[in-house]
Each structure stands twice: as structure tokens, then as C-alpha cells.
Symmetry: C2
Subunit: 240 residues, 2 copies
Amino acid sequence: MKPRGLSLYETIRAEIEGRILSGALKPGEKIPSELELMAHYGCARMTVSKALSALNTAGLLERRKRAGSFVARPRAVSMVLDVPDLGLEIAARGQSYAYRRIAQSIMARADDAHAAQQMGDVGSVLTIEGVHYADGQAIAHEARYVNLAAVPDIASQDFTDTAPGSWLIKHIPWTEAETRITAAAAPRAAAQALGVARGAPCLVIERRTWRGNDSVTFVRQMFLAGTYELIARFGSARAG
Amino acid sequence: MKPRGLSLYETIRAEIEGRILSGALKPGEKIPSELELMAHYGCARMTVSKALSALNTAGLLERRKRAGSFVARPRAVSMVLDVPDLGLEIAARGQSYAYRRIAQSIMARADDAHAAQQMGDVGSVLTIEGVHYADGQAIAHEARYVNLAAVPDIASQDFTDTAPGSWLIKHIPWTEAETRITAAAAPRAAAQALGVARGAPCLVIERRTWRGNDSVTFVRQMFLAGTYELIARFGSARAG
DNA sequence: CAGTGGTCTAGACCACTGA
DNA sequence: CAGTGGTCTAGACCACTGA
């Protein structure tokens, strides 16, 4: 059962994880103490501790002093949503990717009420509107707003055929981000840019990132229905 | 600078994390080796290793033998998507919640091709179709499929005005789940159930949960655009 | 009070890999 | 080849908390 190439603590972790996931160890059940496990595996306590700490971090165990380690009861469900760079993701599914800018300007406030509210009162805002293409088909309209005070370097960048998101993710560290996912009928501007009828169903992804208290950027991407999906996962096996 | 109550390795971790997030340490930059850090903090190498391993797991560092540890270049960002019980969430925003079943049956396979494919070849499937209401307005159509072999107890439950999801989340432990989020035009059946025109924009949430290798349930919820949103977050308030 | 987990030490051997 | 990270040992002291 021990897969080769696994270190001892990984082996211990995998064995206990397997017993939890298979249901052999049930939620709330106590697992052996570190002392018992070191006797069982014939190793130092640090090695057992490393395995159990990893399971604790992963949410599979709850550990209480004096009481012991217990199989965690499934809690509030939170899943992991991977948000890769759009260009890389489209390339990864075997399609060609392109971005084309429609408009770019600098203004005192975002010209979109929701964006302006999300970004707060910043000095000046770089606004970039563009379209993402997969295999030559327009799949998403993007309106991005960047706080120039937080990202002065962006003024010298050329976003004619490179999406500002790719540049931002590589160059600007942010500490917090919030993504809002909804559906909507395509409004006039987006429908026109995408070459579809007004009212076409779209997946709307709005993301605000900030750094400390400063807004960095706000972006709204409208994907034509059927061209894009978000996947969130929970669990160990299917990760990645 | 050292916050009280933090262990030494947490302090080391927090200091390096802070320098990365603030931008003092830039992506690709090399950080001191474990040997240099143990000299700087006057501690054992294991303590430094624990701090750097945690940052590595968190995706903030990349570690290469012989080369050293480097600030990771941000790639795929992973955010946390909370998936609360729909009824509780609607109540939390001050609206009344209701669920009404439309149809229920047991069949050998899911009558929906995508659902059948997602669930795999299970013996028999409980199919429940219903509508979720907020303040008396229909907001979502739900089609749920449950693997009866994995959840035999569900046969005795009454889902006339209680959504099966609420029962499942309380009673059935699952080990893995995957949520797919897309947008679509409402198909005929859903549009009819929701009392809107066919083709109305919808947010589509499909979730498959399983336990080990056994499918537990597959559900497709179609929310009318504007009635529901998903929020994913990343940031300092992440640990929860 | 005593068992448990949390952390830390001061070493060790090794695999890897870039200079 | 030599520096680095990966892992492991055999101890230690402590805080916590349930019996």
C-alpha cells in the first residue's frame, strides 16, 4: 500500500487520510495519539506531528490538547476557485487566444457607477475597454479600471493587443481580492463589441483587488454564455 | 514589530509574508537561505524550515534545491468560494425563502445526459425537480439527482416543500465536490417553471459531490439573472 | 493532575542541481 | 563539487484542558 517515493510523513498522512475518506474513520472519531503513532510507525514524534499538522491544515482533523486528534465533522462548505490568467487558460484548452483594445483613457473617476463605487475616491483612473477572443471568436467584453496612484508604472504600458490583467497579475502584488459572479443580459455596449444581439445571456465576473486600503483595480468581464466556465473544487484527490 | 502570542516560526513566516505582500520582496527575488535565516533569528534550522514550508504551501515561495528560495511569481490565483445553504442565505439577506417540488421519481439513470454522465453508472437515481422562491418570487429552478445506493435513507424523506440539498448537506458526508459555474439561456422546462420567457439569462450552478469513488448527488440550479450572486474572496480575512 | 498537542533544539544524512 | 532544501532523530519544555 505504501507508494514509493513518498517520505515517511507523507506515507503516514496518506494512510490516515485514506481511512478518513473511505469512511473507515468516521467524523468525530478519535485517532491514535502522537505517542501511539510514533510507536506504530517506529519514528520520531516530529514526523508524526508533521503528518497530523498537514491533515489539520487541510481540515480533515481537529486537534485538541489533552483530548487528542479527531476526524473533523464536515463544516461550512468552502470551495477553492482557481482564477488563472485568461490567455493561459484558453491556450491550455487548445484554442488560440487574442485580446484587442477598444478604448483607453484616463479620467478622474470611473465612468461606471458601480466601478466608481467599488474603487472608492482615488485620484485618477485608467480605463481600458477591450475584447477577448478564442479561436478568433469574441468570447468576452472587458471593462477595466486601474487606480493610477497605486500603479503608476501602468501608464507606460501598451495594451493594444495585450490584456491589462496579464500585466497586472505579473507586476502588481495585491493583498486582497473579491470576485463577484452573476449572470446578466448583455447591455448595448458589450453586445455591440461581441457582435451579438442585445440581451444575450452572459456570465459576469467582477473582480476588485486592493493592497492594504488602496484599490488597485476593478474589472468587469462579460462572457457570452457557453464560452467560459468557472470551476470550484473541494477535496483532496481531484486537486489541480 | 513582533505580534505577541505568535510562535517563533509564525513570526518568521509573518515577517517574510509581509515583505512579499508589501512589495519589498519582488516576484523572482531570492530570499536568504535557511542557514542565513537561522543565524538572523538565532534559532534552529527546523524552525526556519517550518516557516518557509508554510509559505511554500501557501504559494508565496518557490524553493529549489541548491538554488534557494524565491518569491513566487503569481500565477493562478486561488480564491475561496463559500457555498452556504440557499435557504439560510436568502433568509440572511432579509427575504422569505420557500421551496416547492415540481416532480419526483426514481429511475435507472438520470434522464439528463449531462447529469447521467457526471454521476456515472449507478444502480438507481432519485430525481427531484423543484423551484426556489425568495419573497414569493421564483428565483431558481433546480434539478437534482441522487445516487440511491449511496444515500438509501433519502427514500423516506419528504421533499414537498423542503429542498433536498438542505437535507443532504446535514446528513450525508462527502469527501469531494466540484462546482461548475456558467451562464445560459433558460431552456423550455426551466423557463416554464420560473414563469419567464424561454431564453432568459440564467446563472447556472452545477455541483457534483462524491465520496471516494461513489457519486452522491448531482444538481443543476438555474438562477434568473439578477436574483443571485456568488462571491469568492482572497485576502487577509481568508483564514476564517 | 496527567495526557495531549505545540513548539523548539542541535544535530544528522541525503538528493538534488546550479555554479 | 558544494550549497541548498527535504527529511528525520531523540530529545526537551511548555500550555492547555479533560478526567
